[in-house]
Symmetry: C2
Protein backbone atom coordinates (compact mmCIF):
# COMPACT_ATOMS: atom_id res chain seq x y z
CA UNK A 1 0.00 0.00 0.00
CA UNK A 2 2.95 2.31 0.55
CA UNK A 3 3.54 4.23 -2.69
CA UNK A 4 7.00 3.93 -4.22
CA UNK A 5 6.94 7.66 -4.99
CA UNK A 6 5.03 10.65 -3.62
CA UNK A 7 4.89 13.64 -5.97
CA UNK A 8 3.73 16.99 -4.67
CA UNK A 9 1.74 19.79 -6.05
CA UNK A 10 3.71 22.83 -4.95
CA UNK A 11 1.78 26.14 -5.07
CA UNK A 12 -0.56 26.05 -2.08
CA UNK A 13 0.34 22.49 -1.10
CA UNK A 14 3.96 23.09 -0.06
CA UNK A 15 4.39 26.87 -0.26
CA UNK A 16 2.28 29.80 0.88
CA UNK A 17 2.20 31.79 -2.35
CA UNK A 18 -0.41 34.27 -1.10
CA UNK A 19 1.19 35.21 2.19
CA UNK A 20 4.64 35.41 0.61
CA UNK A 21 3.59 37.62 -2.29
CA UNK A 22 1.45 39.96 -0.17
CA UNK A 23 4.34 40.46 2.26
CA UNK A 24 6.86 41.17 -0.52
CA UNK A 25 4.61 43.45 -2.53
CA UNK A 26 3.40 45.37 0.53
CA UNK A 27 7.04 46.00 1.46
CA UNK A 28 7.71 47.09 -2.13
CA UNK A 29 4.75 49.49 -1.95
CA UNK A 30 6.10 51.01 1.25
CA UNK A 31 9.61 51.38 -0.20
CA UNK A 32 8.23 52.91 -3.38
CA UNK A 33 5.49 54.98 -1.73
CA UNK A 34 2.85 53.28 -3.87
CA UNK A 35 -0.40 52.78 -1.98
CA UNK A 36 -2.36 49.95 -3.58
CA UNK A 37 -4.54 46.95 -2.80
CA UNK A 38 -1.62 44.52 -2.93
CA UNK A 39 -3.64 41.64 -1.49
CA UNK A 40 -6.27 42.19 -4.16
CA UNK A 41 -3.59 42.25 -6.84
CA UNK A 42 -2.12 38.97 -5.57
CA UNK A 43 -5.53 37.27 -5.54
CA UNK A 44 -6.31 38.51 -9.03
CA UNK A 45 -2.86 37.42 -10.22
CA UNK A 46 -3.47 33.90 -8.98
CA UNK A 47 -6.97 34.10 -10.47
CA UNK A 48 -5.47 34.79 -13.90
CA UNK A 49 -3.37 31.63 -13.63
CA UNK A 50 -5.93 29.04 -14.67
CA UNK A 51 -7.21 30.99 -17.73
CA UNK A 52 -3.59 31.55 -18.85
CA UNK A 53 -2.81 27.85 -18.64
CA UNK A 54 -6.13 26.95 -20.22
CA UNK A 55 -5.08 28.71 -23.42
CA UNK A 56 -2.02 26.45 -23.48
CA UNK A 57 -4.02 23.31 -22.61
CA UNK A 58 -6.56 23.99 -25.34
CA UNK A 59 -3.86 24.54 -27.93
CA UNK A 60 -4.91 28.17 -28.41
CA UNK A 61 -1.46 29.31 -27.24
CA UNK A 62 1.90 27.51 -27.53
CA UNK A 63 3.55 26.17 -24.39
CA UNK A 64 5.01 28.93 -22.28
CA UNK A 65 6.44 28.76 -18.77
CA UNK A 66 4.65 30.18 -15.77
CA UNK A 67 7.11 33.10 -15.76
CA UNK A 68 5.86 34.17 -19.18
CA UNK A 69 2.21 33.64 -18.25
CA UNK A 70 2.57 35.48 -14.93
CA UNK A 71 4.37 38.37 -16.58
CA UNK A 72 1.67 38.75 -19.21
CA UNK A 73 -1.16 38.80 -16.68
CA UNK A 74 0.74 41.16 -14.36
CA UNK A 75 0.91 43.90 -16.96
CA UNK A 76 -2.88 43.99 -17.26
CA UNK A 77 -3.43 43.77 -13.50
CA UNK A 78 -1.19 46.74 -12.74
CA UNK A 79 -3.43 48.83 -15.00
CA UNK A 80 -6.61 47.35 -13.52
CA UNK A 81 -5.49 48.04 -9.95
CA UNK A 82 -4.43 51.57 -10.87
CA UNK A 83 -0.78 51.03 -9.95
CA UNK A 84 1.33 53.47 -11.97
CA UNK A 85 5.00 53.74 -12.76
CA UNK A 86 6.19 50.19 -12.15
CA UNK A 87 9.36 49.82 -14.22
CA UNK A 88 10.14 46.82 -16.44
CA UNK A 89 12.85 45.62 -14.05
CA UNK A 90 10.43 45.88 -11.14
CA UNK A 91 7.87 43.81 -13.03
CA UNK A 92 10.50 41.16 -13.68
CA UNK A 93 11.32 41.22 -9.97
CA UNK A 94 7.64 40.75 -9.13
CA UNK A 95 7.48 37.69 -11.39
CA UNK A 96 10.65 36.36 -9.77
CA UNK A 97 8.91 36.43 -6.36
CA UNK A 98 7.15 33.24 -7.47
CA UNK A 99 10.59 31.58 -7.37
CA UNK A 100 11.08 32.13 -3.64
CA UNK A 101 7.82 31.57 -1.83
CA UNK A 102 7.86 30.51 1.81
CA UNK A 103 7.14 26.85 2.54
CA UNK A 104 4.28 26.13 4.95
CA UNK A 105 5.72 25.50 8.43
CA UNK A 106 5.41 21.70 8.14
CA UNK A 107 6.76 21.28 4.59
CA UNK A 108 10.53 21.07 5.11
CA UNK A 109 10.51 18.59 7.99
CA UNK A 110 7.67 16.56 6.49
CA UNK A 111 9.48 16.17 3.17
CA UNK A 112 12.64 15.07 4.97
CA UNK A 113 10.70 12.41 6.89
CA UNK A 114 8.94 11.19 3.78
CA UNK A 115 12.20 10.90 1.85
CA UNK A 116 13.19 7.97 4.04
CA UNK A 117 10.07 6.08 2.98
CA UNK A 118 9.54 6.86 -0.70
CA UNK A 119 10.91 8.70 -3.69
CA UNK A 120 9.82 12.31 -3.26
CA UNK A 121 9.32 14.81 -6.04
CA UNK A 122 7.40 17.75 -7.38
CA UNK A 123 4.65 17.50 -9.96
CA UNK A 124 3.78 21.10 -10.48
CA UNK A 125 2.62 23.53 -13.12
CA UNK A 126 5.74 25.49 -12.31
CA UNK A 127 8.74 24.99 -14.58
CA UNK A 128 11.92 23.24 -13.55
CA UNK A 129 13.96 26.42 -13.01
CA UNK A 130 11.27 27.88 -10.76
CA UNK A 131 10.86 24.65 -8.80
CA UNK A 132 14.60 24.25 -8.25
CA UNK A 133 14.71 27.81 -6.98
CA UNK A 134 11.69 27.31 -4.67
CA UNK A 135 13.22 24.14 -3.28
CA UNK A 136 16.63 25.69 -2.74
CA UNK A 137 15.49 28.99 -1.22
CA UNK A 138 12.89 27.23 0.91
CA UNK A 139 15.21 24.46 2.08
CA UNK A 140 13.01 21.72 0.64
CA UNK A 141 14.83 18.63 -0.66
CA UNK A 142 13.35 16.26 -3.23
CA UNK A 143 14.63 13.21 -5.05
CA UNK A 144 13.37 14.50 -8.39
CA UNK A 145 11.90 17.65 -9.89
CA UNK A 146 9.09 17.37 -12.44
CA UNK A 147 7.72 20.59 -13.90
CA UNK A 148 5.34 21.46 -16.69
CA UNK A 149 8.16 22.23 -19.13
CA UNK A 150 9.38 18.62 -19.02
CA UNK A 151 6.01 17.46 -20.31
CA UNK A 152 5.09 20.64 -22.19
CA UNK A 153 1.66 20.20 -20.70
CA UNK A 154 -0.08 21.67 -17.69
CA UNK A 155 -1.99 19.70 -15.10
CA UNK A 156 -4.65 18.38 -15.21
CA UNK A 157 -3.60 17.13 -18.66
CA UNK A 158 -2.93 13.38 -18.22
CA UNK A 159 0.44 13.79 -19.99
CA UNK A 160 1.76 15.29 -16.76
CA UNK A 161 0.72 12.53 -14.31
CA UNK A 162 1.49 9.70 -16.72
CA UNK A 163 4.66 11.36 -17.95
CA UNK A 164 6.03 11.49 -14.42
CA UNK A 165 5.20 7.82 -13.84
CA UNK A 166 6.93 6.89 -17.10
CA UNK A 167 10.08 8.81 -16.15
CA UNK A 168 10.10 7.01 -12.79
CA UNK A 169 9.48 3.69 -14.57
CA UNK A 170 6.65 3.06 -12.11
CA UNK A 171 3.06 2.01 -12.68
CA UNK A 172 0.58 4.81 -11.89
CA UNK A 173 -0.70 2.80 -8.93
CA UNK A 174 2.78 2.94 -7.37
CA UNK A 175 2.82 6.74 -7.42
CA UNK A 176 0.88 9.11 -5.17
CA UNK A 177 0.04 12.71 -5.96
CA UNK A 178 -0.14 14.80 -2.80
CA UNK A 179 -2.08 18.03 -3.22
CA UNK A 180 -4.27 20.56 -1.43
CA UNK A 181 -6.65 20.67 -4.39
CA UNK A 182 -9.43 18.19 -5.01
CA UNK A 183 -9.48 18.78 -8.78
CA UNK A 184 -5.78 17.93 -9.10
CA UNK A 185 -6.31 14.71 -7.14
CA UNK A 186 -9.35 13.78 -9.22
CA UNK A 187 -7.29 14.10 -12.40
CA UNK A 188 -4.43 12.09 -10.91
CA UNK A 189 -6.87 9.36 -9.87
CA UNK A 190 -8.31 9.28 -13.39
CA UNK A 191 -4.81 8.41 -14.58
CA UNK A 192 -4.53 5.65 -11.99
CA UNK A 193 -2.35 7.39 -9.41
CA UNK A 194 -2.82 7.14 -5.66
CA UNK A 195 -4.02 10.32 -3.98
CA UNK A 196 -3.05 12.18 -0.81
CA UNK A 197 -5.02 15.24 0.31
CA UNK A 198 -3.39 17.85 2.52
CA UNK A 199 -5.96 20.60 3.10
CA UNK A 200 -4.54 24.11 3.29
CA UNK A 201 -7.50 26.11 4.59
CA UNK A 202 -5.56 29.41 4.59
CA UNK A 203 -4.11 29.13 1.10
CA UNK A 204 -6.58 31.64 -0.32
CA UNK A 205 -6.74 33.78 2.81
CA UNK A 206 -9.32 34.18 5.56
CA UNK A 207 -12.32 33.94 3.25
CA UNK A 208 -11.27 30.72 1.48
CA UNK A 209 -14.28 28.68 0.42
CA UNK A 210 -12.69 26.04 -1.84
CA UNK A 211 -10.80 22.85 -1.01
CA UNK A 212 -11.55 23.11 2.70
CA UNK A 213 -12.27 19.39 2.85
CA UNK A 214 -11.85 16.19 0.88
CA UNK A 215 -14.47 15.89 -1.84
CA UNK A 216 -13.77 12.20 -2.51
CA UNK A 217 -12.38 9.20 -0.65
CA UNK A 218 -8.73 10.04 -1.30
CA UNK A 219 -6.31 7.27 -0.34
CA UNK A 220 -4.75 9.39 2.40
CA UNK A 221 -6.00 12.55 4.06
CA UNK A 222 -3.52 14.30 6.32
CA UNK A 223 -3.26 17.78 7.77
CA UNK A 224 0.47 18.16 7.13
CA UNK A 225 3.26 16.65 5.05
CA UNK A 226 4.61 14.97 8.16
CA UNK A 227 1.21 13.42 8.93
CA UNK A 228 1.05 12.12 5.36
CA UNK A 229 4.51 10.57 5.80
CA UNK A 230 3.27 8.81 8.94
CA UNK A 231 0.05 7.63 7.35
CA UNK A 232 1.67 5.94 4.37
CA UNK A 233 3.34 3.67 6.92
CA UNK B 1 33.20 32.86 -12.60
CA UNK B 2 31.30 30.59 -10.21
CA UNK B 3 28.78 28.62 -12.28
CA UNK B 4 25.14 28.89 -11.24
CA UNK B 5 24.74 25.15 -11.75
CA UNK B 6 27.11 22.18 -11.83
CA UNK B 7 25.74 19.11 -13.62
CA UNK B 8 27.51 15.79 -13.26
CA UNK B 9 28.19 12.93 -15.51
CA UNK B 10 27.41 9.93 -13.30
CA UNK B 11 28.88 6.60 -14.53
CA UNK B 12 32.57 6.77 -13.72
CA UNK B 13 32.47 10.38 -12.51
CA UNK B 14 30.36 9.85 -9.38
CA UNK B 15 29.97 6.08 -9.13
CA UNK B 16 32.36 3.16 -9.53
CA UNK B 17 30.36 1.06 -12.00
CA UNK B 18 33.21 -1.41 -12.64
CA UNK B 19 34.10 -2.22 -9.05
CA UNK B 20 30.43 -2.44 -8.05
CA UNK B 21 29.43 -4.76 -10.88
CA UNK B 22 32.45 -7.05 -10.55
CA UNK B 23 31.79 -7.43 -6.81
CA UNK B 24 28.09 -8.22 -7.30
CA UNK B 25 28.58 -10.60 -10.23
CA UNK B 26 31.48 -12.41 -8.59
CA UNK B 27 29.30 -12.99 -5.52
CA UNK B 28 26.50 -14.17 -7.82
CA UNK B 29 28.91 -16.59 -9.50
CA UNK B 30 29.92 -18.00 -6.13
CA UNK B 31 26.31 -18.38 -4.98
CA UNK B 32 25.37 -20.03 -8.26
CA UNK B 33 28.55 -22.08 -8.68
CA UNK B 34 29.20 -20.48 -12.07
CA UNK B 35 32.89 -19.94 -12.73
CA UNK B 36 33.35 -17.19 -15.28
CA UNK B 37 35.47 -14.19 -16.18
CA UNK B 38 33.11 -11.74 -14.49
CA UNK B 39 35.55 -8.83 -14.77
CA UNK B 40 35.86 -9.49 -18.50
CA UNK B 41 32.09 -9.59 -18.83
CA UNK B 42 31.73 -6.26 -17.01
CA UNK B 43 34.36 -4.62 -19.22
CA UNK B 44 32.73 -5.97 -22.36
CA UNK B 45 29.31 -4.91 -21.11
CA UNK B 46 30.53 -1.35 -20.65
CA UNK B 47 32.23 -1.63 -24.04
CA UNK B 48 28.90 -2.41 -25.67
CA UNK B 49 27.43 0.78 -24.22
CA UNK B 50 28.68 3.31 -26.75
CA UNK B 51 27.73 1.26 -29.85
CA UNK B 52 24.25 0.68 -28.36
CA UNK B 53 23.74 4.39 -27.81
CA UNK B 54 25.25 5.20 -31.18
CA UNK B 55 22.41 3.37 -32.90
CA UNK B 56 20.00 5.65 -31.07
CA UNK B 57 22.06 8.79 -31.78
CA UNK B 58 22.27 7.99 -35.48
CA UNK B 59 18.55 7.38 -35.74
CA UNK B 60 19.09 3.73 -36.65
CA UNK B 61 17.20 2.66 -33.51
CA UNK B 62 14.42 4.50 -31.64
CA UNK B 63 15.15 5.97 -28.22
CA UNK B 64 15.40 3.28 -25.56
CA UNK B 65 16.55 3.60 -21.97
CA UNK B 66 19.86 2.25 -20.77
CA UNK B 67 18.02 -0.65 -19.10
CA UNK B 68 16.82 -1.85 -22.48
CA UNK B 69 20.21 -1.33 -24.12
CA UNK B 70 22.08 -3.06 -21.29
CA UNK B 71 19.69 -5.99 -21.29
CA UNK B 72 20.06 -6.46 -25.04
CA UNK B 73 23.86 -6.48 -24.92
CA UNK B 74 23.93 -8.73 -21.84
CA UNK B 75 22.17 -11.56 -23.64
CA UNK B 76 24.88 -11.69 -26.29
CA UNK B 77 27.71 -11.36 -23.78
CA UNK B 78 26.52 -14.29 -21.66
CA UNK B 79 26.83 -16.45 -24.76
CA UNK B 80 30.19 -14.95 -25.71
CA UNK B 81 31.63 -15.52 -22.23
CA UNK B 82 30.26 -19.05 -22.15
CA UNK B 83 28.05 -18.45 -19.12
CA UNK B 84 25.18 -20.92 -19.26
CA UNK B 85 21.83 -21.18 -17.50
CA UNK B 86 21.28 -17.61 -16.37
CA UNK B 87 17.51 -17.28 -15.95
CA UNK B 88 15.46 -14.35 -17.25
CA UNK B 89 14.90 -13.06 -13.72
CA UNK B 90 18.64 -13.22 -13.03
CA UNK B 91 19.35 -11.27 -16.18
CA UNK B 92 16.87 -8.61 -15.07
CA UNK B 93 18.61 -8.53 -11.70
CA UNK B 94 21.99 -8.08 -13.44
CA UNK B 95 20.62 -5.09 -15.36
CA UNK B 96 19.19 -3.68 -12.13
CA UNK B 97 22.71 -3.65 -10.63
CA UNK B 98 23.30 -0.52 -12.72
CA UNK B 99 20.70 1.19 -10.48
CA UNK B 100 22.71 0.78 -7.28
CA UNK B 101 26.37 1.35 -8.01
CA UNK B 102 28.67 2.54 -5.21
CA UNK B 103 29.64 6.21 -5.23
CA UNK B 104 33.36 6.98 -5.23
CA UNK B 105 34.48 7.74 -1.66
CA UNK B 106 34.47 11.53 -2.20
CA UNK B 107 31.17 11.84 -4.07
CA UNK B 108 28.60 12.11 -1.27
CA UNK B 109 30.43 14.68 0.85
CA UNK B 110 31.61 16.63 -2.20
CA UNK B 111 28.10 16.94 -3.59
CA UNK B 112 26.81 18.12 -0.22
CA UNK B 113 29.51 20.82 -0.06
CA UNK B 114 28.84 21.93 -3.62
CA UNK B 115 25.11 22.18 -3.02
CA UNK B 116 25.71 25.19 -0.81
CA UNK B 117 27.40 27.01 -3.69
CA UNK B 118 25.48 26.10 -6.83
CA UNK B 119 22.53 24.19 -8.18
CA UNK B 120 23.68 20.58 -8.44
CA UNK B 121 22.31 17.99 -10.79
CA UNK B 122 22.95 14.99 -12.96
CA UNK B 123 23.42 15.13 -16.73
CA UNK B 124 23.80 11.48 -17.56
CA UNK B 125 23.03 8.97 -20.25
CA UNK B 126 21.18 7.07 -17.55
CA UNK B 127 17.42 7.52 -17.40
CA UNK B 128 15.61 9.35 -14.62
CA UNK B 129 14.42 6.20 -12.80
CA UNK B 130 17.95 4.78 -12.74
CA UNK B 131 19.49 8.07 -11.62
CA UNK B 132 16.95 8.54 -8.81
CA UNK B 133 17.74 5.02 -7.66
CA UNK B 134 21.53 5.56 -7.84
CA UNK B 135 21.21 8.80 -5.90
CA UNK B 136 18.94 7.31 -3.25
CA UNK B 137 20.82 4.06 -2.71
CA UNK B 138 24.19 5.85 -2.80
CA UNK B 139 23.11 8.67 -0.48
CA UNK B 140 23.84 11.35 -3.11
CA UNK B 141 21.57 14.41 -3.03
CA UNK B 142 21.04 16.68 -6.02
CA UNK B 143 18.85 19.68 -6.69
CA UNK B 144 17.69 18.28 -10.01
CA UNK B 145 17.91 15.04 -12.01
CA UNK B 146 18.42 15.21 -15.77
CA UNK B 147 18.57 11.94 -17.67
CA UNK B 148 18.62 10.96 -21.31
CA UNK B 149 14.91 10.13 -21.34
CA UNK B 150 14.00 13.76 -20.59
CA UNK B 151 15.75 14.84 -23.79
CA UNK B 152 15.28 11.59 -25.70
CA UNK B 153 18.88 12.04 -26.78
CA UNK B 154 22.15 10.64 -25.54
CA UNK B 155 25.27 12.67 -24.84
CA UNK B 156 27.22 13.94 -26.67
CA UNK B 157 24.19 15.10 -28.69
CA UNK B 158 23.90 18.87 -28.03
CA UNK B 159 20.19 18.45 -27.21
CA UNK B 160 21.26 17.07 -23.84
CA UNK B 161 23.60 19.88 -22.72
CA UNK B 162 21.44 22.65 -24.17
CA UNK B 163 18.22 20.99 -23.03
CA UNK B 164 19.43 20.99 -19.43
CA UNK B 165 20.40 24.67 -19.65
CA UNK B 166 16.98 25.51 -21.08
CA UNK B 167 15.18 23.68 -18.27
CA UNK B 168 17.29 25.57 -15.73
CA UNK B 169 16.60 28.83 -17.60
CA UNK B 170 20.34 29.50 -17.55
CA UNK B 171 22.72 30.49 -20.32
CA UNK B 172 25.17 27.69 -21.21
CA UNK B 173 28.02 29.79 -19.82
CA UNK B 174 26.35 29.75 -16.40
CA UNK B 175 26.32 25.94 -16.27
CA UNK B 176 29.28 23.62 -15.72
CA UNK B 177 29.47 19.99 -16.75
CA UNK B 178 31.65 17.99 -14.38
CA UNK B 179 32.93 14.72 -15.83
CA UNK B 180 35.76 12.23 -15.79
CA UNK B 181 35.71 12.00 -19.59
CA UNK B 182 37.42 14.43 -21.93
CA UNK B 183 35.05 13.73 -24.81
CA UNK B 184 31.99 14.60 -22.72
CA UNK B 185 33.62 17.87 -21.66
CA UNK B 186 34.60 18.70 -25.23
CA UNK B 187 30.99 18.29 -26.34
CA UNK B 188 29.73 20.39 -23.42
CA UNK B 189 32.23 23.12 -24.28
CA UNK B 190 31.07 23.06 -27.91
CA UNK B 191 27.61 23.93 -26.61
CA UNK B 192 29.03 26.79 -24.53
CA UNK B 193 29.02 25.17 -21.09
CA UNK B 194 31.78 25.53 -18.53
CA UNK B 195 33.82 22.39 -17.90
CA UNK B 196 35.13 20.66 -14.80
CA UNK B 197 37.40 17.60 -15.11
CA UNK B 198 37.60 15.09 -12.28
CA UNK B 199 39.99 12.32 -13.39
CA UNK B 200 39.06 8.82 -12.23
CA UNK B 201 42.20 6.84 -13.06
CA UNK B 202 40.74 3.58 -11.69
CA UNK B 203 37.39 3.76 -13.48
CA UNK B 204 38.43 1.18 -16.07
CA UNK B 205 40.56 -0.86 -13.69
CA UNK B 206 44.31 -1.20 -13.23
CA UNK B 207 45.13 -1.05 -16.94
CA UNK B 208 43.16 2.11 -17.71
CA UNK B 209 44.73 4.08 -20.51
CA UNK B 210 42.06 6.65 -21.33
CA UNK B 211 41.08 9.88 -19.57
CA UNK B 212 44.04 9.74 -17.21
CA UNK B 213 44.62 13.46 -17.67
CA UNK B 214 43.03 16.61 -19.01
CA UNK B 215 43.29 16.78 -22.79
CA UNK B 216 42.29 20.44 -22.96
CA UNK B 217 42.35 23.52 -20.75
CA UNK B 218 39.15 22.69 -18.88
CA UNK B 219 37.87 25.51 -16.67
CA UNK B 220 38.45 23.52 -13.51
CA UNK B 221 40.53 20.39 -12.94
CA UNK B 222 40.07 18.76 -9.54
CA UNK B 223 40.85 15.33 -8.15
CA UNK B 224 37.58 14.98 -6.25
CA UNK B 225 34.08 16.44 -6.11
CA UNK B 226 35.02 18.24 -2.91
CA UNK B 227 38.10 19.77 -4.54
CA UNK B 228 35.92 20.95 -7.43
CA UNK B 229 33.53 22.56 -4.93
CA UNK B 230 36.47 24.40 -3.36
CA UNK B 231 37.93 25.49 -6.68
CA UNK B 232 34.75 27.10 -7.98
CA UNK B 233 35.06 29.45 -5.00
Amino acid sequence: MRPRAVLFDVFGTLVDWRGSLIAELTAFGERSAIAADWAGLVDAWRGAYQPSMQRVRSGEAPFATLDALQRESLDGLLVRFGIPGVEEAERDWMVSLWHRLRPWPDSVAGLAALRGKAITGTLSNGHVALLVSLAKTGGMSFDVIFGADIFRHYKPDPETYLGACALLDLAPGEVMLAAAHNADLAAARSSGLKTGFIPRPDEYGPTQHRDLRAEADWDVIADSVGALAEKIG
